[in-house]
């Protein structure tokens, strides 16, 4: 069983299409979308169409702070360009999309695995897991062997050491990391739709929980088209440049 994990897609159709094709080629047979499906990008409807289809087939989907803002329930103040994109997104969404987003849970638990957008310590507050202290709080509150999350746009893996302190690790694309069940793990899969680590390739990960392996991937995609659509939609220029630069 290969579980493909996507976070922070942010209405980037080109990125999610490339990631899904990559995951299918590798034999993914389960899917989880870890929030922030919309916001920033220019294709909210097409992206939601795809994810609704996967959800109907049993995929896990959790709510992100941009999704909450898009249905009028902001959790945190957003910066100016994010706010502009949300206002634009709200105008695009129809009743069906609004109902889909509104019904999304903040967390989904499946056996020893927890899916959440931000920190499991307070899913509704969208806390950034930017260091071991936040990771530790999330791991303690999550009470799961595996926590898969997003929100922070750079891929990172935290593992609980013998002394109970999470150690951060920056994964290398394509290297399967053994994630034994005898430890606790928190994986930030990285952003599919708006990577910010100066690499303009989409992030996602595949977990093979039977074989206890997690592989992070960087997938090249047509970021020029995605950026052009953002410009054409009249969204802030910096959102387009971000995709081109990956930062």
């Amino acid at each position: 069983m290969k579980l493909a994990l996507f976070a922070d897609i942010h209405s980037n159709l080109e990125a999610i299409t490339a990631c899904l094709a990559h995951a299918q080629a590798l034999g993914a047979d389960r899917y989880a979308f870890l929030g922030d499906l919309v916001g920033y990008g220019a294709d909210p409807l097409a992206v939601l169409d795809i994810i609704e289809q996967y959800a109907a087939d049993g995929a896990v989907v959790v709510l992100g702070n941009h999704d909450a803002a898009a249905v009028g329930r902001p959790a945190d103040p957003l910066n100016a360009s994010a706010q502009a994109a949300i206002a634009w997104t709200q105008a695009q969404l129809g009743d069906r999309q609004r109902a889909f987003l509104t019904a999304l849970p903040l967390t989904v638990r499946d056996g020893n695995t927890l899916f959440v957008h931000a920190s499991a310590a307070a899913p509704e507050r969208s806390i950034y897991v930017t260091g071991p202290a936040e990771a530790e709080r999330s791991i303690r509150a999550g009470n799961a062997v595996y926590i898969f999350c997003g929100h922070v746009h750079e891929p990172k893996l935290y593992y609980l050491g013998a002394d109970g302190r999470p150690m951060p690790f920056r994964p290398v694309s394509g290297t399967p990391i053994p994630i034994g069940k005898h430890r606790q793990w928190l994986a930030i899969v990285g952003s599919a739709g708006q990577p910010r680590d100066r690499i303009n390739k989409a992030c996602y990960a595949i977990a093979d929980l039977e074989r206890s392996r997690l592989t992070f991937f960087r997938v090249p995609y047509d970021h020029d088209s995605a950026a052009q659509k953002i410009r054409a939609a009249g969204l802030p220029e910096r959102l387009a440049r971000r995709l081109e630069r990956g930062a």
Binding site: R125, T130, Y159, M167, T175, P178, G180, R196, R242
Partner: protein
């Protein structure tokens, strides 16, 4: 379950003769139907009374060996068992002579040492090129195949930069063989390939002189003595040691990794081409440093900072991060402007530089209020807004700015922790407040200055004249 022994069958592999039993694992030859390679099975010693590091080291061994490309310089990993049920590794049985056999006959001839050393250096280089550092190099972990190739075994303490370093948590007590351990490894650095070059120098020293360069330390203090005490030059112990060989050995044994050979391939080259070795004072040294130099080294050791690890082959240098610490108290306009000025200069000097605006506040759970801004979420937002207000006049693109509200009873520790874990390059912080009696309560700023893992600039607004 009974301890495994000859005749036991595990996952279809039939154990033969036990060929090694160590503190961490037992090793059996495998009997029965053979494939293209003679095989052995390594079974870690787990269970009551055994050390936790055995489990971790098993995980590390499996991870690193599984990642190495098949090659002549390490045994090929064939199969492994599940760590939770039947942990074992099945790998190629390397039929070779242990380096230990030569060490026991030391001192041996320089030409022989050069041959063994060059082969070992090439094996190390092969490992280092795959972003692996062995970190437990010793004569019992090196074998020589009949064709002269060196083979490294036992990757239980190795570091692979593509995988989480599971042993990092064991840092309080440096893991590995203390006899050959590099100074930086003794201080907890586990990612520098030049640590293996240091251990190689120690092994060459032993082959030349018949003794180890720094004795056999049994306490951390004895282990750390190599940070300031230089070894007796090999020529002082074995007079006919060629200068080139002493030069190579002492070059490998430099305290600061930056002063050593930059790669094992260079060591191999020098050992293979003695006439080409550039001789310096190291080669002709005939005694250890005198008391005055020793004292000087000892003083310097107190502020010794290990060299940063060279970036792995796949690393893409992240942009430098500057942390600006914004106090949670009432805004101080003059200080805020001074902090912005300092930040502007850093940002102007380096267009990759990112600014992390950080404030540290007591945990929100302690608050219960009626008004919206007294709730945990409300207060979090207030702090974020304050950070944004501080940063807005910088007019930086948003991808170069991040905002963080750290919740902690100890704000200084939270800032230091943040800086450490996010590889912050520099911290900008205001001065300790004047009203606080500095000697009794040094304050957040003073603690950050004292303990931060990076440069800290204390920014003080100019007094109005």
């Amino acid at each position: 379950m009974n301890p495994p022994g000859p005749g036991t069958e595990i996952d279809g592999f039939c154990l033969g003769e036990m060929i090694h039993v160590g503190s961490m694992a037992s090793i059996f030859r495998l009997s029965g139907p053979h494939g293209p390679l003679p095989l052995i099975m390594k079974i870690p010693r787990l269970g009551p009374g055994e050390r936790a590091v055995n489990v971790i080291s098993f995980e590390v061994c499996r991870m690193v060996m599984g990642a190495l490309a098949q090659g002549p310089h390490h045994p090929t990993l064939v199969a492994f068992g599940d760590i939770e049920t039947t942990p074992y590794l099945v790998m190629e049985h390397v039929d070779g002579v242990r380096l230990n056999d030569w060490v026991e006959r030391a001192p041996i001839a320089p030409q022989e040492i050069a041959r063994l050393g060059a082969a070992l250096a090439l094996a190390l280089h092969d490992l280092h090129r795959q972003d692996v550092v062995h970190l437990d190099l010793k004569p019992t972990n090196v074998l020589y195949r009949p064709n002269g190739d060196a083979v490294l075994i036992d990757f239980g303490l190795a570091h692979h930069s593509h995988y989480p370093d599971l042993l990092a948590e064991e840092l309080r007590f440096p893991v590995g063989n203390w006899v050959y351990m590099s100074p930086e490894q003794a201080l907890g650095v586990r990612c520098d390939p030049r640590s293996d070059i240091y251990a190689l120098g120690g092994i060459l020293y032993e082959l030349v002189t018949g003794r180890v360069p720094f004795g056999k330390p049994s306490t951390i203090a004895e282990l750390r003595r190599r940070l300031y005490r230089d070894p007796i030059p090999p020529r002082a112990l074995v007079a006919n040691t060629p200068e080139w060989l002493q030069e190579v050995i002492l070059h490998c044994l430099e305290v600061d990794a930056r002063d050593r050979y930059a790669s094992a391939a260079e060591v191999a080259f020098d050992l293979a081409n003695p006439a080409q070795v550039a001789l310096t004072e190291r080669g002709s040294r005939h005694r250890r440093a005198g008391a005055w130099t020793l004292f000087h080294h000892w003083v310097q050791t107190r502020k010794f900072e290990p060299a940063p690890c060279p970036p792995p082959s796949t690393a893409i240098g992240p942009a430098p991060i500057v942390l600006v610490a914004i106090g949670p108290a009432l805004p101080d306009a003059a200080l805020f402007e001074a902090l912005r000025d300092a930040a502007r200069r850093l940002v102007a000097a380096d267009d990759q530089c990112r600014i992390a605006c950080v404030t540290a506040v007591p945990p929100a759970a302690a608050l219960r209020g009626e008004r919206d801004e007294d709730t945990a979420t409300g207060r979090h937002i207030q702090h974020l807004l304050k950070l944004r207000r501080w940063a807005t006049p910088l007019q930086l693109p948003e991808e170069r700015l991040t905002y963080h509200v750290l919740e902690s009873e100890n704000p200084a520790a939270a800032l230091i922790d943040y800086a450490r874990m996010n590889d912050v390059d520099q911290i900008l912080i205001g001065p300790p407040r004047r009203s606080t009696p500095a000697r009794l309560f040094p304050g957040v700023s003073a603690q950050v200055v004292a303990e931060a893992p990076c440069s800290v600039t204390v920014v003080r607004p100019r007094p109005e004249s």
